[in-house]
Symmetry: C5
Amino acid sequence: MFSEVRKRSRKAGQPPGTLTYTGRKNITPTVTVLSYNEHDFKEKNGAHLEECLLAQIPNATTTWINLEGLRDIELLKKLADLYHLHPLTVEDILNVGQRPKIEEFDHYIFVTLKVLFWNGKKKSFSINQLSLILGENFVLTFCEEPSILFDGIRERIRSGPNLGLQKKSTDYLTYRIIDTIVDNYFVVLEGLGDQIEKIEDLIVANPVKQTAKSLYRLKRQMLVLRKATWPTRDIVNHFFKLEGKIISTYTHVYFRDVYDHIAQAIDTIEMFRDMLSNMLDIYLSSLTNRMNEIIKVLTIFATIFMPITFIASIYGMNFHNMPELQWKWGYPMVLMGMVFVVILMIIYFRIKKWW
Amino acid sequence: MFSEVRKRSRKAGQPPGTLTYTGRKNITPTVTVLSYNEHDFKEKNGAHLEECLLAQIPNATTTWINLEGLRDIELLKKLADLYHLHPLTVEDILNVGQRPKIEEFDHYIFVTLKVLFWNGKKKSFSINQLSLILGENFVLTFCEEPSILFDGIRERIRSGPNLGLQKKSTDYLTYRIIDTIVDNYFVVLEGLGDQIEKIEDLIVANPVKQTAKSLYRLKRQMLVLRKATWPTRDIVNHFFKLEGKIISTYTHVYFRDVYDHIAQAIDTIEMFRDMLSNMLDIYLSSLTNRMNEIIKVLTIFATIFMPITFIASIYGMNFHNMPELQWKWGYPMVLMGMVFVVILMIIYFRIKKWW
Amino acid sequence: MFSEVRKRSRKAGQPPGTLTYTGRKNITPTVTVLSYNEHDFKEKNGAHLEECLLAQIPNATTTWINLEGLRDIELLKKLADLYHLHPLTVEDILNVGQRPKIEEFDHYIFVTLKVLFWNGKKKSFSINQLSLILGENFVLTFCEEPSILFDGIRERIRSGPNLGLQKKSTDYLTYRIIDTIVDNYFVVLEGLGDQIEKIEDLIVANPVKQTAKSLYRLKRQMLVLRKATWPTRDIVNHFFKLEGKIISTYTHVYFRDVYDHIAQAIDTIEMFRDMLSNMLDIYLSSLTNRMNEIIKVLTIFATIFMPITFIASIYGMNFHNMPELQWKWGYPMVLMGMVFVVILMIIYFRIKKWW
Amino acid sequence: MFSEVRKRSRKAGQPPGTLTYTGRKNITPTVTVLSYNEHDFKEKNGAHLEECLLAQIPNATTTWINLEGLRDIELLKKLADLYHLHPLTVEDILNVGQRPKIEEFDHYIFVTLKVLFWNGKKKSFSINQLSLILGENFVLTFCEEPSILFDGIRERIRSGPNLGLQKKSTDYLTYRIIDTIVDNYFVVLEGLGDQIEKIEDLIVANPVKQTAKSLYRLKRQMLVLRKATWPTRDIVNHFFKLEGKIISTYTHVYFRDVYDHIAQAIDTIEMFRDMLSNMLDIYLSSLTNRMNEIIKVLTIFATIFMPITFIASIYGMNFHNMPELQWKWGYPMVLMGMVFVVILMIIYFRIKKWW
Amino acid sequence: MFSEVRKRSRKAGQPPGTLTYTGRKNITPTVTVLSYNEHDFKEKNGAHLEECLLAQIPNATTTWINLEGLRDIELLKKLADLYHLHPLTVEDILNVGQRPKIEEFDHYIFVTLKVLFWNGKKKSFSINQLSLILGENFVLTFCEEPSILFDGIRERIRSGPNLGLQKKSTDYLTYRIIDTIVDNYFVVLEGLGDQIEKIEDLIVANPVKQTAKSLYRLKRQMLVLRKATWPTRDIVNHFFKLEGKIISTYTHVYFRDVYDHIAQAIDTIEMFRDMLSNMLDIYLSSLTNRMNEIIKVLTIFATIFMPITFIASIYGMNFHNMPELQWKWGYPMVLMGMVFVVILMIIYFRIKKWW
């Protein structure tokens, strides 16, 4: 979260057009080119752009170029020249601390999205930026890190014209990519939901310090999730309105579907946030309740032992003239007096319902 | 609640068009076909779609096919082919972790709603998804579980043309189905309201740990209710705007009425939420109040017994040269001194209004 | 509040058109017919509709029929037939758990409002539903209970053409009725404001358990008030937009005035709500402050008496070899030592500003 | 604040058109007439309207009549007849518990505003209503109390045509009056800001009961301020939209400026509100912190003296057979044991970082 | 923050058109004139306006006049006459307690922005006002203090036509200035983020009084930041809508980019605010948790030592007839009894999980 601000801050003071990559730099860039039309497809995977571009088939309706790892700015520049990308677009691709956004340019649409990966071991998610450029007959995607998220889509393209993607155009491929990303949000939400459910059971029964920590951690993650999802909804909504331009009527229905999914994800995030707030309230009340119990024990002990200890100390005084001390039944009578006081106190606590 | 997220998460990674049923699988699907026009009606109930479809009358203005239990995907596919449903519609019917939504297609309107059932024993409600498809002369409904909710509507159709539904078209039947669902929300709200009222009486008088638990449980249920009702309002509002297309002027007035009902349900939910928040605040103040009382008792006891026990321990010292010990009235004087201290303390507490 | 939900819930499961009265049933219905034009007026009051209707004058510009007590469904049906009311309107009149709303029908406007009565003894208000139907030359009003609220309006009509209402048409009468209801909200607000002012003085000075209860009660009443007033604003705003149709330019200015009044009522409710929230916060801080004071007293006593009691108990030990015990000034020295400890503690508390 | 509700409530039940003055009645009404055009001006000040009206110059572009003190309803009626004011306008002028509002009538615009005066001694502000009527060539203002607020404007008119107001028309005078009122809000905000700043310094360092009281008082004043300023923004915005009608293009720019000022005032109020909320939170945490400190002292004393007092009381027992008592070094050994216990406890507290 | 209100308040009561500088007065004004077109540029820096203006080149497409230090009102007036600025504009430039705003005049656009400077030592930021006037072929900027913020832009102009700014017109220069200011917000956000991150680690582990102070300070800074950034977004959005008028299509894309940046800054501020609120909640719960621990220690000690001290004081009584005292094993038996009591208590605490 803070790292995103830092990534962004690095850009401050630089003139626009300066290309600086603000993300992780230890990943070797890989290019994947997938070119297909209704009847045919070709695929090439490697480190050299030029080599991979040879994989294009002549009458391709769609060429999908995917770049994983963005540290090679030269490679990106070549691609930008090839597809006539605006300098700001190239800058935004490299600046991975972006807010999700959609921008229409003359001959393409530029989209920036956040990809979330659930880490089952750490019980948290990592966040990555994906930039997507949708043109008439090409789709370019740029990811910070390699991921297996889009393997399903590629598999479908490879599997031939009857099964799916190949007949449809670039807008449908874009839909599939965005849908995959949004669907993956639910995996993250499930992971977080599991954790919330676990804390929920503990919160009233046995509030411990650790609970507050977990609650805070989850609330923090919700904030990051929220920051990633809300703008995504606007992006999908924007696509929705582009029907007729670059989005065909056929694909329009599918974008409506993605919109519903992202709306559901946002609903769930807001509900989780509300639940976490409720849980914190209950946690606080449980803490106070616990304190009440502890203090009750203290008070019960003090109010029982103080009077009887006082009585004992009375008869521990060394006055010469204390007639009770000589009485034969003095000692048992005092003991009985003490028992009486104890019984009285117990009755008092019963009435106050402290016991 | 969490189960809904899980249902949704199961879909992640699957290509669109994959038909997976995410709900309960132990319910045997049953088809009910009701076909009627102004003069006549026919009804058939069974496990086989083809058999039931024979029950249609020739000039039916409305054919209502109701499917309860959705695990038989083949059956659903047949129905989808018959009525030319979009693949996404079929997917959404099977994916019962949907957000309530309305979608217009070329020749039908697709609606997804949440049906709530109040469980008087558990003092909570269960949630089910109902999908509805409204066409020119057909209405299809798909429920996760069988329910008696729509028995009233069926009875009305059976009872003949004079009494009601038969004269009117598919839009009126749709209105009746949605109205029944929304009306049922008030049964759930009454159940929750009863519980809130019960806690309300206890909250100031006698705050116990259990109260926090109940409050939390109710707040949680309100969140689920809210997630189900808010989108429903948008759905009814959408129907509202369809006047002239598939909704006749006659039925339009009725949809306005449903809109008022759902608005009232939402108002009530928001009021309940506010009340529960207020109750939690009062509960917290009651806890602190209670602690004040307990500590007051402790302080009163301590401040009374500490000084007099101290006096007693003074005269318990073994100094050889303590003249008071030899005094004839030493012992009674010390006792009186103690009484004096106690009276002083009591006066002090009276002034502080602790007693 | 809960009773409203219950009233509404009773309707669930019934087909539309079923006429069930959900309100109080022990009130005998009374009909009041007031018929007037610029020059003349006639009035009739009784239990029988037909009889009262005879009171109409031939060229009446306005006929105002007021029905108090709604248990006689037959009477209502007759009236509905006479003025061609939509079945849903009749249903809504009988269902007194409605949300305030306005509905335009072909030849009339249907309005449902909440009438609030301040009960000075109980220090709370009761809530009643008023339904109003505004037609070309008639105004119908339906109240759950008889009230003196509209006596002023009737008096004005009776007092002749020069003084007021008679010259103007049905829309002006409607304005007068709504204005009277909204004006009455301020009586309720004044009553609640008085109570808030009373608590305000106590809240910091002397927080008692009762305060929390009163705060909760007032917050709850604010919620009900809010639920009644917010939709009323929309209703008046709707009237506002009807200028030219059923609302004359003359009356339009008056509806603008009512709009300002209801806006002011809502402003005041929101301010009261904010004040009550602030008061609860202050109350909580006062409780903690009070606890601090109590614990301070306890701590001061304990930290003073514990050390000196310890010293006394030292010299209460029975060791044979305790040289101090034989010293001539042992006893006074020990006493002085105790005084010294006490002074030390007092200085400590002074520095800590506890005393 | 409550007085405003009461003022308003007095009107309830009265028919519209009843003229009742709801404000302070001990102020003698004074009329000030200022009539001017580009070349000339005349001024008259007195108790009689007719006399003052003689002061008008023949070709006056602007006549400004200012009435301070509103108890003379007859005087007001005369003025209303002279300028053909709507009965509702006259009613609203007298009803000083109004919400700020703007209303367009056929030949004039009616504005109601709140004038705030900062009282440096009481450290709070008083609130007054100002009604303004803007016509083609006249401006009427009605104030509850006399004030020196508009002396600057009058001075400027008197000072001749070159210096300012005289060349411009009624709309510019209206702008000047509203601008003066809005500017004065900042004087109130400065006064409140000074108080907030003072509390801010104390809140963490030394939270006292008085702080809560001051916070509550300031929060309450913010609510009143808010209620006065928010509608004022809408009023200025409305003026803004009247360009071309009664507001000239020349003056339009100036109203835009007032709009910015009122927006800034609202921003500041909202920020102050947020700050006060933050301060209350910090105050609460400081209270708890303080309690922690007090209890820590208590616990330290108790846990040190309880064990050693116990040891002393062991050797205060009167058993015949207690060998330690006869030991020569028994007494010093026990004392050393006590010192050891104390050191142990101190180490324990050091580890716990309580000391 | 308060100083801004004070700056503003100084203006109250003054007629419009009065020129008063409300900012810091110890800064000597400096004028910088930069005049350039596609092929050439000239620059002049000094205290005298006339001298600097000579630096303009004949066919300059853009003349940028930057004034740092505003106490010389005469200098400003000259500039205003030269460029025909509206009196209100000049007033607003001098009144540095303005709200960020944009105003369109006939031949120029007037913008007021807040420039934030992060002070790494004080760990806080200072706030300055920048006024900008954008005309056909001139850009005027007015700053309270000199800063190095725009050195980068100047450097770019000087570096010749191929590298950047010179080819483009005044709108692009305006974009560059606003972009630089907005980019600098991220430097401030990074500084604040670092501080939030530091507190975050401490908040659960070891809550100290200082934490509350830091939290309050950060929350306060967020409020100032918010007040500066929200209106800035509206300003950039306004520029956005001016496409075709004074903003060329070329620059339009760049303003869209600035809009995204300011939106991201606002998102981050809101997230920081939420985080700080969460942290305060957790801090409060940590305080209560800590109190629980302290009281637990007190209770454990008291409940262990009270009973055994009582037993000891029993046998310290001086009754003649106490048979136990003569028993040979009396003393060890009592000691063992005490050990038994202690063990019992420890078991009790183990069950309660206090230990």
